[in-house]
């Protein structure tokens, strides 16, 4: 336990108090048992119980702070003691003797580990009893990369470099278009016929070339906007996306 407990220790008949760290109630019990007998098989659980309970009671009488688990153990031991002293009741399971035996086993287990720990610490320990070489040369494993690349990768890489860096020539195919200038000239020359509102599309030339027709339409539309701006023609569109109509300006 982390907390400091004032522990009563009997010396001769008198009671002296030591501030110590018991490692829990089992530890105190083990020390008491050790005081009884060297062989834990031979200890008297009854006597042990009395000693422990007496300790705790004295401590409480002196108004010392006693940790809860010591009190729990004292209560359990008091119960065990009364069971051991009462006439045997075959109905009780486990029997008080069984409980006493278990307690003894636990003390023996703890004792075994305490002794084992001491024997462990007493062995020839590295750095205390036996020594390793103080200044070893040390072993090193140097990692070296074995670079791997296949011939194909190499050639492909070169091909890619060349492909990437070769000057690219961009060729634009010759396409038939109607320029804006041409469209304006054409529209102006044909305006004489447009006394009434006339669909702009009727001014386009005849052609089987659809791409050329689109170019004509786009250029003529732009030309019509330009001519409308200068007042040479009027423009009309009745609804969105409806036909664009032109008429000679006044």
């Amino acid at each position: 336990m982390g907390e400091v407990v004032l522990h009563p220790v009997v010396e001769d008949e008198g009671l002296t108090l030591h501030i110590e760290h018991w490692e829990g109630p089992l530890d105190l019990l083990l020390d008491l048992a050790r005081g009884q007998k060297v062989d834990l098989h031979e200890i008297s659980i009854l006597e042990l119980t009395e000693q422990f309970v007496a300790y705790i009671e004295r401590a409480q009488a002196l108004q010392l702070e006693v940790a809860a688990d010591y009190l729990v153990m004292a209560a359990w031991l008091a119960y065990l003691k009364s069971c051991l002293l009462l006439p045997k009741d075959p109905e009780v399971d486990p029997s008080p003797e069984e409980l006493a035996w278990r307690l003894q086993q636990r003390l023996m287990r703890l004792d075994a580990m305490r002794e084992a720990g001491a024997r462990l610490l007493g062995r020839d320990r590295v750095g205390r009893d036996v020594f390793l070489r103080a200044a070893p040369e040390g072993l090193r494993t140097e990692r070296k990369s074995r670079w791997q690349v296949r011939a194909y990768d190499l050639f492909a890489a070169y091909g890619q470099v060349r492909a990437r860096t070769q000057p690219a020539m961009h060729v634009v195919h010759d396409r038939k278009v109607m320029t804006l200038e041409h469209a304006m000239e054409r529209l102006q020359s044909m305006l004489g016929f447009a006394v009434e509102w006339t669909d702009l599309r009727r001014f386009l030339p005849r052609s089987e070339d659809k791409a050329f027709l689109k170019s004509c339409l786009a250029s003529s539309f732009l030309a019509s906007l330009e001519l409308a701006r200068t007042g040479m023609i009027d423009l009309e569109q009745e609804e969105p996306f409806g036909a664009v109509k032109v008429k000679k300006g006044r």
Binding site: R102, M113, E115, G117, V126
Partner: protein, 199 residues
């Protein structure tokens, strides 16, 4: 021929700054029967001022134990363990793999926070997976460095382990013992522990 290989093994072990497995030795010494060479060397060094020892399947040279008095610079222990730490270490070594609740049951007291940390920091104790029981508690076990430090060829060399086993003092604790050991508030702590240690 074999002697030639033995001196390579000797050189590798001598130069190493930590104990080596037979495999690691072979990696450096090259082709040869490492086991045979180790046996040969161990025989050669027996009784000398330096000894070749095996600790948990790893080998190293160290000075002979009976010469400690010549070499000890101070009387101080390399790592002073508290009583709680010593008991915990013994319990883990003799019972491994063991859960914290089991350690506490044997000692009849809770383990204070730093105790296991100190053992792990020393490199003697490691976590050893979770026990597949309700709550999946972490288990603890010792490390090869533990064997090296305490001069044990294997866990079978733990002092008195055969007698303790025969006496049933290393048997797994039954559940009643666990319950008996721990008052109610311990269980809470156990749960907290699981959370903490998962980090």
């Amino acid at each position: 021929m074999s002697e030639d290989f033995a001196r390579k093994v000797e050189a590798v072990l001598f130069a190493a700054d930590e104990p080596l497995t037979a495999e690691q030795i072979g990696d450096h010494a090259g082709e040869g029967d490492v086991k045979a060479a180790l046996g040969e060397l161990a025989g050669h060094y027996a009784g000398r001022g330096i000894e070749l020892v095996e600790r948990g399947k790893r080998w190293h040279f160290q000075t002979a134990g009976d010469l400690a008095h010549l070499l000890r610079r101070t009387r101080e222990e390399p790592r002073k363990l508290s009583r709680a730490g010593t008991e915990c270490l013994a319990i883990i070594a003799y019972h491994e793999p063991v859960t914290r609740a089991e350690i506490e049951a044997i000692r009849g007291v809770q383990i204070s926070k730093g105790t296991l940390d100190v053992l792990m920091e020393a490199g003697w104790v490691r976590t050893a997976g979770r026990r597949e029981t309700p709550g999946r508690p972490l288990q603890y076990a010792t490390t090869p460095d533990f064997l090296t430090h305490f001069g044990l060829a294997s866990r079978r060399d733990l002092p008195g382990i055969d007698d303790l086993k025969a006496a049933g003092l290393l048997d797994p604790l039954d559940e009643e013992a666990l319950e008996l050991a721990l008052s109610g508030d311990d269980e809470e702590e156990d749960e907290v522990e699981v959370g903490d240690e998962e980090v």
